[in-house]
């Protein structure tokens, strides 16, 4: 089984399922090129009207026979999964749909404790799929309410303080990047877009294959040449057997110091024992991350 945790929401799926589309607030999973599961979510303030959302779904999918159903009308395994998930405080309303070719089983969910509202649907082609769908549904987890939030995607995982919000990401062959942003205060986080104003940018990167990238060069030199943004020359890098680490103030002047606009940087990079990759974590911004918090994030960053 593989656990995908993305932007605070997690789902454990069969090994063969893999993401074919990934957004900030959702993903589509496929099995051998065929869609099997779609999960979307957002955060809502206040109460959540299930009937309204299911009605909207029905309206948006004209030509699809879609309807909200009670748990008694769903397969037994599905009803059990819904009951199990309800024990964690999540409220669910199931729905079914069918076209001439496909049919599906899904649920609209709301977690009153965190405000998470989600829609999950499974593409069903045989009764055996209903069992897998139900088992997968029961593994759904809302991590958004914790002090720290895990993430796990494309074979990598990490954990970071909940104040860091997902900003951008890209998973290109050879180079994965996931950027998070922590605004100076929650008030500013609501006003300014991610990456604007005072705050800290936290970036997790994975480069592969390390055996090719590091041929004829040392890790610290490779980082100076290839990492974007390049670690500032004024910030010394310390190399050890474990890897390379750097910390300091990248941009400093008396004026910046007076205005508290100094740019603090921290970074760690290491070559993994397995997976033939280079993992890099950097924190950059005018709100420094404590050494302990940064080390914790680096330690959590690993191959699954």
């Amino acid at each position: 089984m593989v656990e995908y945790i993305w932007n605070g929401v997690g789902l454990t799926t069969p090994d063969a399922w893999e993401p074919s589309a990934l957004e900030r607030d959702g993903f589509l999973l496929e099995d051998q090129g065929q869609p099997v599961c779609e999960l979307k979510w957002s955060t809502v303030q206040g109460s959540f009207n299930f009937k309204k959302h299911i009605k909207r779904l029905v309206k948006e999918h004209k030509g699809v026979d879609m309807q909200g159903v009670s748990e008694a009308e769903t397969p037994n395994v599905w009803a059990k999964a819904v009951a199990r998930l309800s024990e964690s405080g999540i409220i669910l309303h199931s729905f079914v749909w069918k076209t001439q070719v496909h049919r599906g089983l899904g649920a609209v969910m709301h977690n009153p404790a965190t405000g998470l509202a989600a829609l999950v649907q499974f593409f069903i082609t045989s009764p055996a799929d209903e069992v897998v769908a139900a088992e997968t549904l029961s593994t759904l987890r809302d991590y958004s309410g914790g002090k720290s939030v895990p993430w796990a995607m494309f074979g990598l995982s990490g954990r970071l303080p909940a104040a860091f919000k997902l900003e951008t990401f890209s998973f290109r062959p050879g180079h994965y990047t996931i950027k998070f942003w922590r605004a100076k205060s929650a008030k500013q986080a609501g006003k300014l877009p991610a990456g604007k104003g005072p705050g800290t940018s936290l970036v997790f990167q994975r480069f592969a294959p390390a055996s090719v990238l590091l041929k004829g060069t040392e890790l610290d030199q490779w980082l100076r040449d290839m990492l974007d943004p390049t670690p500032h020359e004024s910030v010394p890098m310390e190399s050890s057997e474990a890897g390379v680490a750097w910390a300091g103030i990248a941009t400093k002047s008396m004026l910046r110091s007076l205005l508290r606009r100094e740019v603090h940087v921290k970074g760690q990079a290491w070559r993994t024992d397995t997976g033939n990759a280079i993992l890099v974590v950097t924190a950059t911004g005018n709100i420094p991350v404590t050494g302990e918090a940064f080390n914790d994030m680096c330690e959590s960053y690993e191959f699954v």
């Binding site: 062959p173 592969a208 294959p209």
Partner: protein, 107 residues
């Protein structure tokens, strides 16, 4: 799909064990006749050269007329320990590129 090398592609190996490929450039007939008329081309095949990096060399060597694209991606995964999905994307993109240059065909 099984990629097959174009027999007209000439392979050489440099000191770093990286492959350089020399392949005849496919010239569009209208361009060929025009170039010939104005004296820019004497009908001899134009040869282009392509230097492969380590991973390109590895994939080129795996193209033996028997391995399918999927098998080449699997060999790539086993050798470089990258994820299957990114190996498939990389290998497919490479094969597409050299296929567009006429260096391989697919059977």
């Amino acid at each position: 799909m099984v990629p097959v090398r174009n027999t007209k592609v000439v392979e050489s190996v440099d000191d770093d064990d990286l492959i350089q490929l020399a392949y005849p450039l496919a010239i569009k007939p209208w361009f060929g006749s025009l170039a010939e008329k104005v004296g820019l081309w004497d009908k001899r095949p134009m040869i282009k050269h392509l230097e492969l990096d380590e991973m390109g060399t590895f994939v080129w060597r795996a193209i033996n007329g028997e391995n399918s694209v999927r098998q080449i991606a699997a060999i790539f995964v086993a050798h470089y320990e990258v994820q299957p999905r990114e190996a498939e994307l990389s290998v497919t993109a490479f094969i597409k590129t050299i296929g567009q240059r006429g260096m391989i065909g697919l059977k």
